[in-house]
């Protein structure tokens, strides 16, 4: 069984994110990057499936510049067997990279080259929170999809996936191949063990220039301007309801009807 785990390299969300003065991106100087936390959960799930079953190959995929190798190395240290970097020359981490449609088109090419049985990926990336790639990809491949997975079970006929919805847990069954996107509570990604880190240094990272995939990028989203939300939040005690209403009015600039 081959599991393909597409990942995105994103700024660590625990850090202070600053918008550049030109409002055209975030300031990435000093900013540590990580594997998108939802993708790390997908990776952990793929590794666990590999630990429970025989002959599973976990392939981590990244799209970006050569800088991405550090995060793919992390994926290999956690337990991925191989890593593949689609190199995009003008990829801009400070602006969230490619838009979801182009990422999905690109991943379709990778799927058609690698023939995985399962694509496991985060339900969204925490930089742009688009949450579209898994669905686009499943549609492009005409594969079944299970989004927001909180439990994944592989059985001889296919997959059983528990999905977290606003109204409770929905369990669905599907055949393979399929696309699964992972939610927060599926698992807790591991730290890499010392032997695994040492072993990962010998694992291959394959690099494919975007041009070699024969794909033209067709941006569907234009970022006009970025703006920081107010960094300082303050707390005030409202003495009574009238005062609370007054606070809310000030904050929202609402007027009395």
């Amino acid at each position: 069984m081959k599991i393909l785990v597409p990942t995105k390299r994103v700024p660590d969300t625990d850090q202070k994110i600053r918008v550049r003065d030109d409002r055209q991106g975030v300031d990435i100087e000093h900013l540590p990057f990580v594997i998108n936390p939802f993708d790390a959960i997908a990776l952990e799930e793929a590794i666990r499936i590999g630990e429970q079953r025989d002959s599973v190959e976990v392939l981590a995929v990244g799209i970006g510049t050569a800088l991405y190798e550090a995060e793919l190395r992390t994926a290999l240290a956690m337990g991925a067997d191989r890593a593949l970097l689609v190199e995009v020359e003008d990829y801009d981490d400070s602006r969230g990279g490619l838009d979801p449609w182009n990422v999905a088109c690109l991943l379709r090419e990778i799927v058609q080259r690698e023939h995985p049985d399962l694509v496991l990926m985060g339900k969204q990336a925490v930089d742009d929170d688009a949450g579209q790639v898994a669905q686009f990809l499943a549609a492009l491949l005409d594969w079944p999809q299970a989004t927001c997975a909180s439990a994944v079970e592989i059985h001889p006929e296919g997959l059983r996936v528990a999905r977290e919805t606003d109204s409770g847990i929905e369990t669905i069954e599907t055949s393979l191949p399929a696309v699964i996107s992972t939610d927060l509570r599926l698992n807790e990604p591991r730290y890499a063990s010392l032997p695994s880190i040492l072993k990962s240094r010998k694992k291959p990272i394959e690099r494919i220039p975007l041009a070699d995939l024969g794909l033209e990028q067709e941006p569907r989203i234009e970022i006009l301007e970025m703006e920081a939300v107010s960094a300082r939040r303050s707390c005030q005690f409202a003495g009574d309801v009238d005062q609370l209403v007054e606070f809310l009015r000030q904050d929202t600039e609402a007027t009395e009807e």
Partner: protein, 423 residues
Amino acid sequence: MAGTSQQAADVVVIGGGVAGLSTAMQLATRGASVIVVERDRLGNGSSGRAAGLLGQLRGTTAATRMLMDGVEIVQELERQADVEIFVQTGSLRIAETSERAQEIVDLVEMGKSIDFEIDHLDNEQVAEFLPYMKTDDLLDACYCPTDGHLQPAELVSAYIKVGRSNGVEYRTDSPCQGLVMESGRVTGVKTSGGTIHAPAVINAGGPWSYLLAGMAEATLPTAALGHVYLTTRPDDNNPVDRLSPAIRDRHLRLYARPESGGLIVGMYGEDTVEVDMETLPEDFDMSALKARPDDLHLAMLIDAAEKRFPWINPRTPMTVTMGIMTFTPDGKPFCGTMPDLEGLYHCSGFSGHGIVQSPAIGVIMADLVLEGSTSYDIEAIEADRYFEMPGFQQRSDIKNRCYQMQASYYGKVEGGNQPADES
């Protein structure tokens, strides 16, 4: 606060970590007017990420006295601030090699010679104390019932509470932008909120302290080194009683203590990460430091932890805490002034022991500022002990020496009855 306002105080303390907060509290208690300026939030640097282990028995009587007095100061603080700071769990040192076993024999002998409560324990007794620890490979162990740890967050809030009630003013988000110099002495601190004039300025900047000293063209031989520890989440199969003893395993270079139903395990490894504080962004927030899943130091820590606590592995639910420690070439802090610069009192370089040293250090600093001397034996921690000493002036030399000191924590095996001064 007007941008250009000028204010005055008897003492300005730069740095709102435990060293600065304790000093400010002691000064204010004795009637001085004190302003603390902190670049971020109070207790948000290494003070907020410390394990706080208190092992009172040290290589020298001066150091031991400081820590034992510290416990009394903390007990008084607990009464005043109505919080539990000191958790008396007792501490256990274990040995799995003959060299380490000899260290324990020496330590017990030394402790008994000064009437400190300490004794050997056999493996069965150790296993009874610590059912979650591997004990079948131990050659010896010793137990100090009066040790434990100080809870860093509670200590910080107690210093602030008592300090505030004695009139200390705390200014957060107020990085020191420069020192005011007048005829060769420091007379104030520049901040975005204006210049504060004071005849005495305390440099309690922790990892930043060498940069603050540099503002007055003084050389403070400290270096900033990364440190990492893990805290396991509570696990029904391996319950960790909140009063189970702290553990020091010098062979594996580990320390451990209970925390919120889980276990803190940290390591003083042979190598560490050097941090050049001048390269960090102005708004660097230590609490946002995070370990990569493939962090080599963390992997080494987990690997060593697994040898002593076999239920810990890379998949154990845990929180990883990263911080920056301020080391000195001999692992002892710098307290006091330099010969050629009046008005600037250093209080930094606690080399991983700031929490437990801070109670007595506050008294010592207040003594030095207000009386010019102290009844404590501070020869080993005076700020000028490397003053103009060749080999301790260039950053590269200083970093190298501090790095070596950190590496030797838990590392060296010494003969005689002088245990290395580690936590």
